[in-house]
């Protein structure tokens, strides 16, 4: 009971601190002086290889309004005096991947940036060079790249800034009507009082998903990649400890981490692998099922830890897509004659039914991994967004940080809702890892089933 109380107290203080941080940002403290502030700081030498801790105040950026949004280089800008809190943009920013690892908006661990462009070749530097501040916006540009909301973007006229660092005053975004009538968001970095258009954040899909094609590729290990490596290491050491324990206390009751892993392992083996795949073949697929289960569970739980970067790895479509593609390949390569017969030539039905049944079965072949991918990513992302929305209540009630009484009410309202949501997410973390595993087992089971 005392533990629960101190946890609630701790979260109250933390959420309140968060509210204070935003208060600082969206209050009335922004004016043109900020631009001069940055110039005076430009001369300071920062150690780029090290952690940048808490640049309070001086790296908070002004938001800018863009006056002539059709100019790519050197658009005229003005400071947005009453910038309002945008819950959607904040939520999207917090579930997105980033090129810095931010813990509680105070500690920013720079990650390596590996960029490739056709004209410049491979560039390799630390994202500490951007000197990221609040909302992971970089205070400096480096060789024509800037850090905007945690992601590396290229300036449209990057050839003007090829040599070293330049101070960035702030960022601005503007909606303009695109070629097909839809509104397109153009984002600007403000350097030296002028706006410079940012290219889209780089995606490898060639613009299929609407991200656009960029002139450079970002091959950097991002926050998600680092989290994945950390989770893999944790799993490796946990399982090594458990494996050692089996030789050490053979014939005795399990101890330590072993007593947590053993029932989970047995549960997956006895309730998932054996019933779905069968006594004879389950051992061949058991390592795959265990890896999938513990990898997803580890990532889900790692993303649930409050204030530790709250990464959204298993909620990222890319990660779940690779997992689903793996399951798809393994399922179909282990498919036997019986399995393919049921898809292309369903036994015991007349030919005109086969005309409908075969396309449906072939379609089902691809829908299975597609739903695997969407289910996991959708569930985890939805959980993160729900928590962010509840925290966002503080800023909505507090009128973007100008109304302290409203913010307090919002905080009191947000804390129980957030704790409730986090408990639900804890269950979801286990259930989704389990569901992914059980579905993989059932697909493999269907593919390897003998004729009956």
């Amino acid at each position: 009971m005392r533990r629960l109380f101190s946890f609630i107290l701790f979260s109250m203080i933390s959420v309140f601190m968060l509210a204070q941080g935003h208060d600082h940002d969206h209050g009335d403290g922004h004016n043109h002086d900020h631009a001069h502030d940055h110039e005076s700081h430009a001369g300071h030498d920062h150690d780029n290889g090290e952690t940048h801790a808490g640049h309070d105040g001086d790296h908070h950026h002004a938001n800018y309004l863009i006056s002539n949004p059709n100019t790519d280089c050197g658009a005229s800008v003005s400071v947005d005096q009453n910038h309002e809190y945008d819950p959607t943009a904040t939520a999207i920013h917090h579930i997105s991947d980033a090129n810095v690892y931010t813990i509680l908006d105070a500690v920013r661990i720079p990650l390596p940036a590996i960029l490739y462009s056709k004209d410049r070749g491979v560039e390799f530097f630390s994202t500490g060079k951007f000197e990221a501040g609040h909302h992971d916006n970089g205070a400096k540009s480096y060789n024509g790249y800037v850090l905007f909301e945690g992601n590396i973007h290229k300036l449209a006229c990057s050839d003007k800034f090829v040599d070293g660092t330049t101070a960035v005053d702030g960022f601005g975004r503007v909606e303009v009507a695109g070629a097909d009538g839809k509104s397109v968001e153009r984002r600007y970095a403000v350097i030296g009082g002028k706006g410079f258009l940012l290219e889209q954040k780089t995606i490898w899909d060639g613009g299929i998903l609407g991200g656009g094609v960029t002139s450079f590729m970002d091959l950097s290990p991002t926050k998600s990649v680092v989290s994945m490596l950390i989770v893999c290491l944790i799993l490796f050491f946990a399982f090594r400890a458990a494996a050692k324990a089996y030789t050490k206390n053979e014939g005795q009751a399990p101890s330590g981490i072993q007593s947590f892993l053993e029932p989970v392992f047995q549960f997956i083996r006895d309730d998932v692998a054996i019933p779905f795949i069968g006594e004879k073949k389950y051992e061949k697929y058991l390592p795959l099922l265990m890896t999938i289960f513990f990898f997803i569970l580890g990532l889900n739980l790692w993303g649930q830890i409050p204030f530790l970067g709250s990464v959204n790895v298993s909620g990222s479509l890319t990660v779940t897509m690779i997992l689903a593609v793996l399951v798809f390949l393994i399922t179909n390569f282990s498919g036997n004659k019986n399995y393919w017969g049921h898809i292309f030539n369903f036994p015991g039905v007349p030919w005109f039914v086969k005309l409908i049944l075969t396309p449906v079965e072939v379609l089902g072949l691809f829908i299975k991994p597609l739903t695997l991918m969407l289910r996991l990513a959708g569930n985890i992302t939805a959980g993160h967004i729900a928590i962010l929305s509840f925290v966002g209540l503080i800023f909505i009630f507090g009128n973007s940080g100008t109304n302290m009484a409203g913010a307090t009410t919002g905080t009191i309202l947000a804390i129980p809702l957030t704790i409730f949501m986090m408990s639900i997410e804890l269950i979801v973390a286990f259930v989704q890892a389990f569901v992914f595993t059980i579905l993989t087992a059932s697909y493999i089971g269907a593919a390897t089933e003998e004729h009956h």
């Binding site: 739903t371 569930n379 059980i438």
Partner: protein, 68 residues
């Protein structure tokens, strides 16, 4: 306007999913009450079916999300 329609579509998908989940959960609890010794099997089947249904709802929601 299209954005509003997409949101409406997502909402409808959630209503469908809600009805489906209620059916699955209700029937599973009924079945467990009738045959408590088969609780493990029923629970497994229930989660599997819920996952299938949730997949359909999520496809609808994501389509609504992407088609603006």
């Amino acid at each position: 306007m299209t954005g509003t329609l997409a949101a409406l579509g997502a909402g409808l998908a959630v209503i469908g999913a809600g009805i489906g989940l209620g059916q699955i959960g209700g029937k599973a609890v009924e079945a467990i009450a009738r045959q408590p010794e088969a609780a493990g099997d029923i629970r497994g089947a229930m989660i599997l079916m819920a996952a299938f249904m949730e997949g359909a709802a999520l496809i609808a929601i994501l389509l609504a999300f992407f088609i603006k």
